[in-house]
């Protein structure tokens, strides 16, 4: 069944709903998937200034929405039936341009669908388009995209355009600004959690191996993990339920049963031990962030959790370790973009010339920088000092967490050292820029699940996120603690303001 043209007032309401609320509305037939999808398509059109999407696929979305409505009418809907989502442009989508925000893949239409997006489609989700991101997921601002920067829907008191964070900046802006009900992201060093924090939404990086990486353009294979970016914690649970699962096509995906996430949402934190890692208290940390962290601990304590100081002594090595290992893997993963088989080809007289021209023109500065770093740290004579050393330190960092999780059930920390900054304040020194990832990178190195929950505002009125890190394959503890934080913080999203 299709509802007649919806009233504009209702449309505005529609884009404010959470995934769970929209799902309920569809099931109760308060509106159709077509209504919902149209509302989002209109919002996308009127908010193009945010540049949240690289590609909008309205015809396809409408077509799928109609199909969803048919299934809903027959009560045959899947878990996400008819719900319009944004898909980070790192996920291969069959027959639909997939670029990783790089010139080198401009126009590339994969003849296959990534496992995670296939899972979402199988559950009935409607895809609105491909969201913008940092090129090959390398960045914390979304400014390295070949398709231009994304603007954070939030405005600071001075009115300047802010970055949404990155690399999943388009997904974050879309979810925060009402351009998607929820979105997929990927997180290699914080690429889901940091933009979630900057944009006042929930971002969950699952345990490494929880979701399949098959069909996701690889950045750093041992760190990459897809996850949901949503309006609230419940939505993250709902969406992860569909995204997760063993995939025989990904040898690193865990062959474990996926537990029910939704039921943990109401379990509370009574008796749960929450660790506060002292090494995360950075020198000169923004006082707003320090305050937020203290609030978070207090809220959890008030709900019955026990707060325990823990030490993760190798934290200070996380960033250098990450910036050796991730570029090393990237330098190898990105070797396939050579102009020979697909994507951009800049002709040359010799094969080497073809490579040089294609890759010089096809990759942006940041990507080239990381390929060079990665090539360097793997080179003969440097391998032991950099790559091998970093692998050893990575093990120590993981061990820190293993020891900590003998004493606590979950770790609480801020997600980012600062709130979102303006595009023109973005550090030009890449090393200063990399400091953005300092609080998120350790969970990737240790393969642990981490979630950012919006929990307060900075003095400039910008959203701040609290990060929860759990033991491997225990996303449920994040949902439990995350729900408590969310409720206590009573954070009002951009759309609610």
């Amino acid at each position: 069944m299709t509802t007649p043209i919806t009233k504009p007032a209702l449309k505005n309401d529609l884009i404010r709903l959470t995934l769970a609320e929209a799902k309920e509305g569809l099931l109760k037939k308060k509106f159709s998937s077509l209504d919902l999808t149209k509302a989002y398509l209109e919002s996308m059109e009127s908010n193009r200034n945010l540049n949240a999407y690289i590609l909008e696929t309205p015809e396809l979305a409408l077509e799928r929405a109609k199909e969803s409505d048919k299934r809903l009418a027959k009560n045959e809907g899947g878990l996400l039936e008819g719900l319009p989502l944004g898909i980070k442009d790192l996920f291969s989508t069959e027959g639909i341009q997939t670029t990783a925000a790089s010139h080198i893949l401009e126009g590339f239409k994969p003849p296959y669908e990534s496992t995670v997006t296939q899972n979402l489609q199988n559950a009935g989700a409607v895809f609105l388009g491909k969201t913008n991101m940092d090129e090959f997921a390398m960045g914390s601002t979304n400014m390295t995209s070949y398709f231009g920067s994304v603007i954070n829907p939030w405005k600071r008191s001075d009115g300047k355009d802010l970055v949404p964070g990155g690399s999943s900046g388009g997904s974050a802006a879309a979810v925060a600004g009402g351009l998607a009900l929820a979105a997929t992201g990927t997180d290699t060093g914080g690429s889901i959690r940091q933009p979630a924090a900057f944009s006042g939404i929930v971002g969950l990086k699952p345990t490494y191996g929880r979701c399949s990486r098959w069909g996701i353009v690889a950045f750093a294979s041992s760190l990459d993990q897809p996850g949901p970016m949503t309006r609230d914690v419940r939505d993250a649970a709902l969406m992860l339920q569909v995204m997760a699962g063993h995939d025989p096509k990904d040898s690193t995906s865990a062959s474990l049963e996926v537990p029910s996430f939704e039921k943990s949402l109401t379990q509370g934190v009574k008796g749960i031990r929450v660790g506060i890692p002292r090494e995360y208290r950075l020198d000169g940390m923004d006082s707003d962030i320090v305050k937020l962290w203290e609030n978070g601990a207090k809220w959890l304590q008030e709900s019955g959790a026990e707060i325990i100081d823990v030490s993760l002594p190798h934290t200070k090595y996380s960033l250098p370790t990450y910036y050796v290992l991730a570029p090393a893997e990237a330098s190898s993963n990105l070797a396939r973009y050579d102009g020979v088989r697909y994507g951009l080809r800049v002709p040359g007289k010799t094969l080497d010339e073809l490579y040089e021209s294609t890759r010089s023109e096809g990759f942006g500065t940041e990507v080239q920088r990381r390929i060079l770093i990665g090539t360097y740290v793997l080179s003969a004579g440097y391998y032991d000092a950099y790559y091998l050393k970093a692998q050893k330190v990575r093990r120590l960092i993981a061990q820190d967490f293993e020891l900590a999780f003998q004493k606590v059930d979950v770790i609480l920390a801020p997600t980012t050292p600062t709130p979102a900054f303006a595009l023109d304040e973005s550090p030009s020194d890449p090393v200063v820029m990399y400091l953005n990832d300092v609080l998120t990178v350790p969970a990737n190195l240790a393969g642990l699940p981490g979630m950012s929950v919006p929990a307060g505002l900075s003095r400039d009125g910008l959203p701040l996120g609290l990060q929860l890190i759990g033991p491997a394959f225990d996303e449920n503890v994040l949902f439990r603690a995350g729900s408590v934080l969310e409720e206590a913080a009573a954070f009002k999203s951009f759309l609610e303001r």
Partner: protein
């Protein structure tokens, strides 16, 4: 000559040191990390999955069967199986290497140290150490001769499983190197893990060669890439050894370099210049967790191995009293061994004498005829039961060995059995005393002077009389009887 351990240079003898890296394509219907097929000679780019073409986001998944094949081969070369091994990426750019890296095993291969015993023509046996066997992917193929400016790429081979088997630098001659490859080939064929077809490229050899004065440390080596026949292997080693000796004797230095064998000229030449020297930047492939093998499963594979050539050889020597040389010739190729074993079933009686005769006929007449007509033993017109039928006729004294050769030729042409042909052509041996005696009388009466000479002590003439008798009877006389009767007659 092949069997030279020592090369004579102007400054005296030089010792040759050779190590081999054999790339053996795994027999498997699917590739090492993708489900794509591996048919040889298929239309270009028809056996390519998204993984093989390194499309974005594609991931490798290990093919269990290829692992099984590598383990079986490991047992075949008497090697230890590593229950934990690691896949590494070997990074380099080339148009027929889609991912920009080859998945291989660098620090921790699936198979560790082993050895092969090789038999040399003088009957001696040498034990050659094997350093390791590892699994890796093959690259695609670049085709440069189809277009004046462009090269074409065929990815059918991309991702096909190879076993790289590395020997210790234990080989000291071209003959030994050839024997090593033959032995390895017979083992992998026997195991069904590689077809060993060098002309189709399913077995390719890189040769590391250096020379030194006896007792000195290893010299600088040159590596000769992609040698694709045993004949070329021998040629390449000889050429390269002599090239290095000349350089050293002239006071020059050997460059550690990669060289190509030019089969048309029988020489080696350097590959492209130094600018293409590779730093492969090996690191563990983050898409593939360590390969951990179940001990019980590995043990199960070991238990179910077929009989290997060495074991078969011992059995042939023990059961049929064959010489070490004959036995190793028979087991060198699985097809020969099968032919022999099939033929044994038809020997009447089956005893060491008959088996030995069968082996002689197989190695001599059958191999000779196959070589002349460039046929494989599977295409041999004389079937195993027919060959044994012929042996039985000899054993029963129905024909002589000499006539048997004639019968064999007839069998080869007609594909009929020996008994039928002997009947048809009246080749049955004459064992009738009176018939032979009649001929003896005739021969002796024709050669009276010679009979006198014989009787006065010229013993050698006995053979002449035998020959004359046999000739007169068209070779059909029972030779033992001829001897006996002649002796009696001549006193």
């Amino acid at each position: 000559m092949d069997n030279q351990y020592i090369y004579e240079g102007a400054s005296g003898p030089w010792e040759l040191v050779v190590g081999l890296e054999v790339h053996a394509q795994v027999i498997s219907s699917a590739k090492l990390f993708s489900g794509a097929a591996t048919t040889f000679g298929a239309e270009p780019n028809t056996q390519v999955s998204f993984v093989d073409a390194a499309m974005p986001g594609m991931l490798p998944v290990i093919n269990k069967f290829c692992v099984e094949q590598a383990i079986k081969t490991g047992f075949g070369i008497n090697a230890e199986i590593n229950l934990v091994s690691i896949f590494d990426r070997k990074n380099y750019f080339y148009a027929d290497l889609p991912a920009g890296y080859q998945i291989s095993q660098y620090t921790r291969p699936i198979v560790g140290k082993g050895y092969l015993d090789i038999e040399l023509e003088d009957g001696s046996v040498r034990r050659i150490g094997i350093t390791r066997l590892h699994l890796e992917q093959d690259a695609g193929k670049s085709i440069h001769d189809q277009h004046p400016e462009k090269s074409y790429i065929d990815l059918n081979r991309s991702g096909v499983a190879l076993m790289e088997i590395v020997s210790e630098p234990d080989l000291r001659s071209a003959e030994e190197a050839a024997a090593f490859v033959r032995k390895l080939r017979s083992i992998v064929r026997c195991l069904g893990t590689c077809d060993g077809n060098m002309d189709q490229g399913s077995m390719r050899i890189d040769v590391n060669i250096s020379v030194r004065k006896a007792g000195e440390p290893f010299g600088t080596r040159a590596e000769i890439k992609n040698v694709n026949s045993i004949k070329f292997l021998t040629q390449a080693i000889h050429y390269e050894a002599e090239r290095q000796i000349v350089i050293l004797e002239e006071g020059g230095e050997i460059l550690q370099e990669t060289r190509l064998f030019d089969s048309a000229r029988g020489t080696t030449r350097p590959m492209r210049s130094k600018e293409h020297a590779h730093d492969y930047r090996y690191f563990p492939d983050p898409d593939l967790p360590p390969l951990i093998l179940d001990k019980a499963w590995v043990e199960e594979l070991r238990k179910n191995l077929p009989e290997l050539p060495d074991a078969k050889k011992s059995r042939f020597m023990q059961d049929y009293e064959l010489s070490a040389y004959d036995a190793s010739v028979l087991v060198a190729e699985m097809e020969t061994a099968s032919y022999f074993e099939e033929a044994l079933k038809f020997l009447k009686p089956l005893n060491p004498k008959a088996a030995k005769l069968l082996a002689n006929w197989l190695i001599g007449e059958v191999f000779g005829a196959l070589n002349r007509e460039d046929k494989t033993i599977e295409a041999c017109p004389v079937t195993p039961p027919h060959l044994s039928g012929l042996i039985n006729q000899i054993q029963e004294g129905i024909i002589s060995g000499k006539i048997a050769k004639e019968v064999f030729s007839l069998m080869w042409e007609s594909e009929k059995d020996a008994k039928t042909l002997i009947e048809e052509h009246g080749l049955k041996q004459v064992s009738d005393d009176s018939a032979i005696l009649a001929v003896i009388d005739r021969v002796l009466s024709k050669n009276v002077t010679m009979v006198q000479e014989y009787k006065s002590g010229k013993d050698k003439l006995f053979g002449f009389f035998v020959g004359q008798v046999m000739k007169d009877m068209a070779g059909k006389a029972n030779p033992e009887l001829v001897n006996k009767l002649l002796k009696e007659k001549l006193g």
